[in-house]
Amino acid sequence: MPVDVSGVLAQAQGRASSLPTCQVESGPLEWVLDPGHLLISDPNALGDTHSVEQGNQLDDRARKNAQVLMNRVFSLPIVRVEEVTCVALPAPVTPLPREKPIPKPKPLTKWEKFAQEKGIVQKKKTPMVWDDVVKDWIPRFGYKKAVAEQTKNWMMPYKGNAPDDEDPFEKAIESKRERVAKNELQRLRNVARNKKVKIPKVGVTPMVEKQTGKNPNDLKKAAELAKKSTASLGKFQPNLPGSLEKNIKPSQGKKRKFDPLVSATEKDKNMKILQQITSKAPKLDLKKAVGREMFHQDQERETSKRQTAGKKGKGRFNKKSGERAKKGKASGRGGKRR
């Protein structure tokens, strides 16, 4: 079957021309590209209409920009990593903000502060030290030092006038333990100072007493609290052992209590409450006062009107005509207004 090649080509061309191109022209301003972050920014202004067209425009812009970024990415050198085609991205240019805040400087310990004030600078110590006895280099710290120490100190002399039952090995261990404990205490003191926690300077603290539960009052309190600390406030809790249970005070909570259904004093009580309510000191209520004043003025006006009407009204029942009386009434009113 013969095929019209030119027709097919024309059709393909037509299809291709209807699709969006990958050659995109920039606006008045150039794009700013940062392929390291796969970032593109388009500094050209947007139209200022809020419409469907605007939306379409935005879609178009986004497509174009993505196309530009893709063009750039595809122009970068291609690398093959385990049969996968990759692109070697250049180093990013745009600075990004830090994820976390900059760490605060560590507060100085007491010794560090003192050294700073005095200008003491710690000398750098070498990690290994030559030992004459072992005839070898031994680390200054660490487990190898401890091992070397053991081999070196297989025998320890009694010091001066130490008692006979004293074990120098044990004494060494004890002194080491004490030094560690002291260091730990000082570390905790530093922490407390930096956190501004008040701690006693010397001596046994009452805290220790509480922690060990040696204070009998504390124990009692704890037992009481523990008994009450249930959903039903200890109502269904079994009794504590003898002496503790005896010392527990009845609960301090106030129980709702209503008066008995029938009581002789009820009426008096109610009367008292009524007295309280009705004998409240009168307050100056501005609205009320204004209302009263308006009412009084109205009343006065009315009475005066009635009086004047009455005076003139006499004329109505005189021999003179009613017309005149009416006139007089009207004039009277007018006079009042003036």
């Binding site: 209503f258 259904l261 009367m271 409450i273 309510i277 609205k287 308006m294």
Partner: protein, 180 residues
Amino acid sequence: MRPLTEDETKALFEKLSKYIGENIKCLLDRPDGLYCFRLQKDRVFYVQEKIMKMAATFPRDALMSLGTCFGKFTKSGKFRLHITALDFLAPYAKHKVWLKASAEQQFLYGRNAMKSGLGRITENTDKYQGVVVYSMSDLPLGFGVAAKATAECRHAEPMSVVCFHQADVGEYIRNEAMLI
């Protein structure tokens, strides 16, 4: 059923005193026997002591009503007056509003009273004063609150509200279930 606590009594008396002032004394101190207020399922009943004692023999759940219901306490502790209290409060009312025959029906359907429907009003009634609403034939219709002082009423427009609706006898039909 139980007597009211002090706070509850205060709330009740304060509400009643808005309508009848110190005439509450007449309710407490009656020549025809001892009367008292009792609370049952949040409702306050005004009841003769003799009847109250008889009612005390019933379990609380079974007791629906006793004496006359004056109103109920809301969950937030406020007292709300019911229309059933009207018979006891109307004779002692300090401030009254009379409605014209044309405005009666509107009020009985739960509407506020307009100036156009106002027949008479007690002199010296203050703004927001509790009032008992009467028909022109002196039949008590319900409770209200004066929206305007007496003096203001005179200058008010005909369509302005003069008395806010609180309760009316129409509720006997409209809110039968709520009133017990």
